[in-house]
């Protein structure tokens, strides 16, 4: 890859909006400066329709093969939000763009397509999302648990904040029994 093929933040957002139109729900570009020279780093926060998620990743790969840092997740009450943190343009002085693609899936049917066939390195983070948030990852090559032990009760997801969360297993040792 030569330097003139580097992506720009505006270019990435425009390319996705042209390709997916209304399925890109929101896209924001943020700059953050640091040091005495105040050089800045660009981040893009993009919210996409969960049904288009796999095509969005495919489109990203067609622009440039990204590095997937990790996927994080939030329990937002009625929905579960997954945020995939990609980085592109690495290998050049201060040209990296952090691309955070978030999707929301309904809690009643928490499903998302696996991207392991596109980025094999996504396997660990996808397995973690399955056990921690109870998201069903369709087409994942390895469905086993990762961090949570085998004898941990089924249907309890440590990152959830509702009745399927881990509350009843807490031992609040600081509380004094009366």
């Amino acid at each position: 890859m030569s330097e003139d093929k580097l992506l720009t933040a505006e270019g990435i957002v425009k390319s996705f909006k042209d390709e997916f139109k209304t399925k890109i729900i929101d896209a924001q570009i943020k700059e953050h400066a640091a040091g005495t020279k105040k050089n800045s780093t660009t981040s893009i926060w993009m919210k996409v329709d969960s049904k288009a998620f796999k095509d969005v990743v495919k489109h990203l790969i067609s622009l440039q093969y990204p590095h997937l840092a990790v996927a994080s997740g939030n329990d937002l009450g009625k929905t579960i939000e997954l945020i995939y943190h990609f980085t592109v343009n690495f290998g050049y002085n201060r040209k990296q763009i952090n691309l955070n693609i978030s999707v929301e899936v309904p809690k009643a049917k928490p499903e998302i397509q696996s991207i392991c066939d596109l980025i094999p390195g996504a396997l660990i983070t996808e397995r973690e999302k399955m056990e921690m948030l109870g998201v069903d990852i369709i087409g994942i090559p390895d469905k086993r648990r990762l961090f949570v032990p085998e004898d941990f009760p089924k249907g309890v997801y440590p990152w959830r904040r509702d009745e399927t969360g881990p509350e009843k297993y807490y031992k609040n040792l600081h509380e004094v029994k009366k």
């Binding site: 050089n39 945020i83 980025i119 094999p120």
Partner: protein, 410 residues
């Protein structure tokens, strides 16, 4: 006379999960045909302590100290990544001097971590004299760390909006003297590791990770750079004072002219990074502007400001082992809504599989250690063959590795 038929079958050996020498137990299951590794399976989670959950009851300043205790060796990089994320959310501007001091601390941690690794790697192939040599140098670096932060390992130096201790003028001669000493030792170490025939025999063409595999499996840090992927957060982005400094992204071809992605390249990679870290510290000391070291010295006021913060951000820092990334979401409460920690080893687990496939059992310690996981010592191996069970202890596995070195030396 009946003919006895022999069929070739593979067998499984489990390794781990207890590794007492370094933290983070990992469980491997190897499928073996003779001496050759056919397939590898990795199981994790033996020390999952729900640190992220524990943050739900803490305010951001308390979380700094919790983050510091995620890992003993990376006790600076976790609070650093968390602070970066929180500062972005709360829009805190960090004084310029603090940004330089943060780089000095980060690079000092890189030197200690890489020297620790070099010692462990030497031990794995049976060079215990080199282990003592590297750890002797590391001890001196820890002395400097203690001089600058007051602590050797868990430094407690990071603060949201700055750093907790300044480097004053009277401290500079001692720092410069120590840096000169490290440079001398670096030349010595370079000779020991890079010109030694036996180290070359054990590490060249062992545990190869190709550039393509490194990209696809999302490897990070020295592991991915040793395979030729130029990915270094310090170069790619501008955070702390790294954006002001001239940093080159180092890959092993700087020294050898080619990238093989083997264990030898990963040794070269880390040694070159030690040199780079020493130079960066010198650079920072020269360029450091004067001024405050923290944006808001009154903690109660800072906490009040953080309580009002609303939003989400990521903090990325180049830890000794690679990119560490923290995602923080704050919703106007005392504790953050979400805190997701991603340590570099998390991404360097899958690359183990192509590295270990096709290698011998005796190569497991050095190849597994070559990614510098928070796991380096294989404790106990049980071989299950035809329903019978053999046990290989960590010592026996280590002996196998030494025997291979001796065999090659003949």
């Amino acid at each position: 006379m009946s003919q006895t038929q022999t069929t070739k079958t593979t067998y499984h050996i489990p390794i781990g999960p207890i590794h007492p020498a370094l933290k983070e137990p990992v469980y491997f299951e190897f499928e073996i045909a003779g001496e050759k590794i056919v397939d590898v399976d990795v199981k994790l989670g033996h020390v999952h302590r729900a640190v992220e959950w524990a943050s739900r009851k803490r305010n951001p300043i308390q979380i700094l100290y919790l983050a510091e205790r995620i890992c003993g060796i990376c006790s600076y990089c976790h609070p650093a990544a968390f602070t970066l994320a929180v500062e972005k959310i709360a829009d805190i501007e960090v004084p310029e001097r603090a940004e330089y001091l943060r780089v000095i601390q980060g690079e000092l941690e890189r030197i200690t971590s890489h020297l620790l690794w070099a010692g462990v790697a030497a031990h794995e192939i049976g060079f215990d004299t080199v282990l003592y040599l590297t750890w002797q140098i590391r001890e001196k670096v820890l002395d400097l760390t203690e001089y600058l932060t007051g602590n050797r390992i868990t430094k407690g130096i990071m603060m949201i909006g700055g750093i907790r201790r300044d480097i004053t003028k009277d401290m500079l001669p001692r720092i410069k003297k120590d840096l000169e000493y490290y440079k001398e030792c670096y030349d010595k170490l370079g000779k020991v590791f890079l010109n030694d025939k036996t180290v070359k025999m054990r590490s060249q063409d062992a545990g190869i990770l190709t550039k393509d595999e490194a990209m696809k499996l999302c490897a990070v840090g020295p592991t991915t750079r040793a395979s030729g992927v130029k990915k270094d957060v310090r170069v790619d982005t501008s955070y702390f004072a790294y954006g002001d400094l001239d940093i080159e992204c180092i890959t092993p071809e700087v020294l050898t002219g080619e990238v093989n992605g083997d264990v030898y390249d990963r040794i070269i990679q880390r040694l070159l990074e030690v040199k780079q870290a020493i130079e960066l510290i010198e650079d920072c000391i020269d360029k450091m502007p004067s001024g405050d070291i923290v944006a808001e010295p009154k903690l109660a006021k800072l906490l009040n400001q953080l309580k009002k913060a609303n939003g989400e951000a990521i903090g990325i820092h180049e830890a000794p082992r690679g990119e560490v990334i923290h995602y923080v979401k704050m919703d106007g409460n005392e504790a953050p809504f979400t805190w997701k920690v991603r340590a570099p080893t998390y991404n360097n687990i899958l690359p183990w599989i192509p590295m270990l496939k096709g290698e011998q059992i005796a190569d497991i310690p050095i190849v597994a250690a070559s990614t510098d996981p928070c796991m380096s010592c294989t404790n106990r191996v049980g071989i299950v063959k035809d329903g019978r069970k053999y046990e290989l202890t960590k010592e026996q596995l280590h002996k196998l590795s030494i025997a291979k070195t001796r065999r090659l030396m003949k």
